[in-house]
């Protein structure tokens, strides 16, 4: 019986022993059903499904069958969730519903046969694929950060340890000096995954060498880029990898206190991290004298308040001090004067989660993957107008086309791919013609976008690029903290001009005006939010200037998205003359006999789109 206050692990040898025990305990003897409880599957009802499976498992156990039900973290392939994997055979079932449970029990668990209709079918060959290794979405990925995803229960520290977790920490504390750790991270070429891509090792060294004896480490979990949810998955599904990375970093830098700043919209991440921290303390992996090494370190969690600007390092630190999240000028770096005026190292969630891999496998193994200037892998959330929405981790240097088309399955519905947006509101749109660009910090910056935290948003021909720029500027206006005039006024003016263009009231010279505002924002804004606000504007103007011109000069939106800037027309061949549009038209300007093709009186049309919405035969076209 262990007293709650007593630590479970007092040395690396204790940890190694626990790993063996946990691995042996974790070895399945009978059938194991692993259900994904990640964010995507949860929204699709994996909670109810879990309860149904639990009931089935209990019944089976009562009948003498050895069946276990396991809750695991995100597999990444959110599109086909909820995902259930059954051992033995590692059979992967997709889109599983409660109603499927009896058949799964009867056929697979008792009968040992796969249920064909629940298997994933290869979209090219139509062949059913039984395991994740065969599915193209997974086959082309390379997983460092997400290596335990889909295998471990996120709430179990022993699962993490059994897979080799905290071995990097034991190695760092007993076999390496802080200098050696920093050297290893430098050699690995790891760059900050939050967007900027600053070399992590250099950051750590400057912080270690900074004046003073109190130092802080911070994990930036304020993942604010819309369309990006990689960090959420890492915090929710492998929370210990973040904590382990932070402890190693703290030891290297000489810090005793760490903070994890989690976005307010991620309540589950807070719950999972909180539990992980408590477990780590209980096991002697956090707190005083970690693993008997004499090194002490602890972590506190702070929830954000729903402010995008708090992803900026100095704003985040102000928020940690209980103040409004307003950035400050950074002529003095936060690695020297950061939180409470002390040297502070702030890294993104994914950056921290890469650290254990580097320490365990060595800088060389990490650096062997990637390009000249960008090493290792990058996790992307692949979203938008794409067939396979989900999280993917790929080696740096893979082309955007491979990610979007081969892994992501391309644009659905036979539509044409127009652009890929990276870097969130600070990034830009990359046109289809440049998709062979490799994923690399410097290559993306050269194209006028940036890596950002890893949102990859796919846009098809129905997306108006002026509208996209307007969307991001609208976002930034709401999120600008208002401290510096350049951002407060400049972003607002840019939005004003873009709104005018989308409303069909653009004027010749507007594009030049926008570019002028971009130049101003780039040099005069106080922080990254304002500086990079020009990226969505510049990149869309650079690659899609024709769309701007068409809006301004012809009062026409080529993507048929800006209301009022395109017309509706009934295609006579498709119209069955049902009369629905005639009935619904608020202006009563649609005419036609029953069972005859109808016509819209173009001059009187207010372009409200009601006919388009109600037509059951898709006979109303936007022109």
């Amino acid at each position: 019986m262990i007293v709650a206050t007593e630590r479970l692990l007092n040395s690396p040898a204790d940890l190694a022993r626990l790993r063996e025990e946990a691995a042996a305990r974790g070895k399945p003897t009978g059938t194991v059903m692993s259900l994904c409880r990640g964010g995507g599957c949860e929204v699709k009802g994996s909670g109810r499904l879990f309860a149904a499976l639990q009931g089935a498992a209990e019944e089976l156990r009562a009948g003498g069958k050895d069946v276990q039900l396991k809750r695991i973290g995100c597999h990444g392939f959110c599109e086909i969730g909820p995902i259930l994997v059954i051992h033995p055979g590692n059979i992967l079932y997709r889109n599983v519903q409660e109603a499927d449970v009896p058949e799964i029990v009867r056929e697979t668990i008792l009968g040992g046969r796969a249920v064909a209709r629940l298997l994933y079918a290869d979209p090219d060959t139509g062949k059913s694929l039984a395991t994740s290794q065969e599915i193209p979405f997974y086959r082309r990925q390379m997983r460092f950060v997400l290596r335990y995803n889909g295998f471990i229960d996120p709430t179990s520290i022993e699962d993490y340890i059994a897979m080799g977790g905290y071995a990097a920490l034991a190695k760092a504390l007993t076999e390496m000096t802080p200098e050696q750790i920093i050297r290893e991270v430098e050699l690995s070429g790891l760059r900050g995954r939050g967007g900027g891509g600053f070399p992590t090792g250099r950051k750590w060294r400057t912080c270690r060498e900074a004046h003073g004896d109190v130092r802080y480490v911070i994990c930036n979990g304020d993942e604010g880029d819309p369309g990006a949810f990689m960090d959420r998955s890492v915090m929710e599904d492998v929370p210990h990898s973040v904590i382990e990375g932070m402890i190693i970093g703290a030891f290297a830098i000489g810090s005793r206190q760490g903070f994890i700043y989690v976005r307010n919209e991620y309540p589950l991440a807070v719950v999972r991290l909180r539990q992980a921290i408590e477990d780590a303390r209980r096991y002697g992996l956090l707190g005083e004298d970690i693993l008997g090494s004499g090194f002490s370190f602890d972590i506190r969690i702070n929830r954000g308040g729903g402010a995008f600007v708090c992803g900026e390092s100095t704003a985040l630190m102000a928020s940690l001090e209980g103040k409004p999240g307003e950035p400050r000028a950074k002529y003095i770096h936060t690695v020297e004067v950061g939180l409470h005026g002390k040297p502070t190292t702030l890294n993104n969630v994914e950056t921290w989660a890469n650290v254990p891999y580097i320490i365990t496998n060595g800088a060389k193994a990490f650096a062997s993957v990637g390009t000249e200037g960008s090493k290792g892998t990058k996790v992307f959330s692949l979203v938008g107008k794409i067939a396979n929405t989900g999280l993917v981790e790929v080696p740096m240097g893979m082309s955007l086309r491979e990610i979007v088309c081969d892994i992501g399955g391309g644009v659905p519905g036979g539509r044409k791919l127009k652009a890929v947006q990276t870097g969130g509101p600070s990034g830009g749109c990359i046109p289809e013609s440049l998709l062979d660009t490799p994923v690399d910090f410097d290559a993306l910056t050269k194209l006028g976008s940036m890596m950002g935290s890893g949102g990859l948003i796919v846009m098809d021909e129905d997306t108006c690029m002026v509208g996209v720029a307007r969307y991001f500027l609208d976002f930034l206006v709401k999120e600008s903290c208002g401290k510096c005039t350049a951002c407060r006024e400049g972003v607002a003016q840019a939005l004003h001009v873009l709104t005018r263009i989308c409303a069909g009231k653009g004027q010749p010279g507007d594009v030049e005006l926008l570019l002028e505002l971009c130049d101003l924002l780039e040099v005069a804004a106080l922080c990254g939010l304002g500086n990079t606000a020009c990226n969505p504007i510049r990149s869309t103007i650079h690659y899609f200037r024709n769309e701007y011109d068409e809006h301004i000069l012809e009062r026409h939106c080529p993507a048929h998205e800006c209301r009022g800037l395109f017309k509706f027309q009934i295609i006579a061949e498709k119209c069955k003359g049902c009369g629905l549009c005639r009935k619904e038209c608020p202006e009563k300007i649609i005419t036609g006999e029953r069972k005859q093709a109808h016509v819209i009186e173009a001059v009187k049309c207010t372009r409200c789109g009601k006919c388009y919405e109600v037509c059951p035969f898709s006979a109303v076209a936007k022109v």
Partner: protein
């Protein structure tokens, strides 16, 4: 949702959160977050009390409470409608869903209905892009929502027939 007629003691509520975190103004945001979730808003009386106990100017507390979108100085409705307006949801038609909600409930973003049944809060991203557009009412998610589904969904929470 407190239905008591007597006004809750907000000063005592403030004292309770201060006791939880100690008198350290560093924890101001955490204290306000607790007040927000327990009282469903940040009451001005509680802010005054925090200023006294933490010995910081009321203006500082007010500046924090008004800077972050998670705080609301007036009580929120019984049900919180969170609509994701992140990039993907935007591409897949969240704007039309927002218009449907606003039209149906006659409220603006951030507003509360007259009967205090609903508060409508658009947010930047819920991170559930596979199901865009995503709507969340209290803790329940609704994926791939269309404007046509809005009245039906709201009716589950007791929204009255079209006003």
């Amino acid at each position: 949702m407190p239905t008591k007629t007597a006004k809750p003691d907000y000063r005592a509520a403030a004292d309770a959160v201060v006791a939880r975190y100690g008198r350290d103004p560093d924890f101001l945001i955490s204290m306000l977050q607790d007040l927000q979730s327990e009282q469903e808003h940040v009451p001005p009386e509680a802010m005054k009390r925090l200023a006294e106990v933490l010995d910081v100017p009321l203006s500082r507390i007010y500046s924090v409470a008004t800077f972050y979108t998670t705080f609301s100085l007036t009580p929120r409705g019984k049900h919180l409608i969170t609509l994701c307006v992140g990039t993907v949801c935007y591409l897949k038609g969240a704007k039309a869903v927002a218009e449907a909600i606003q039209g149906r409930l006659k409220i603006e973003p951030g507003g509360t209905t007259e009967d205090r049944l609903f508060t409508f809060q658009p947010v930047n991203c819920l991170g559930a892009c596979a199901l865009a557009p995503v709507l969340m009412i209290d803790e329940k998610y609704y994926g791939k929502v269309t404007p046509a589904q809005v009245p039906e969904i709201l009716a589950e929470y007791g929204a009255k027939e079209k006003p």
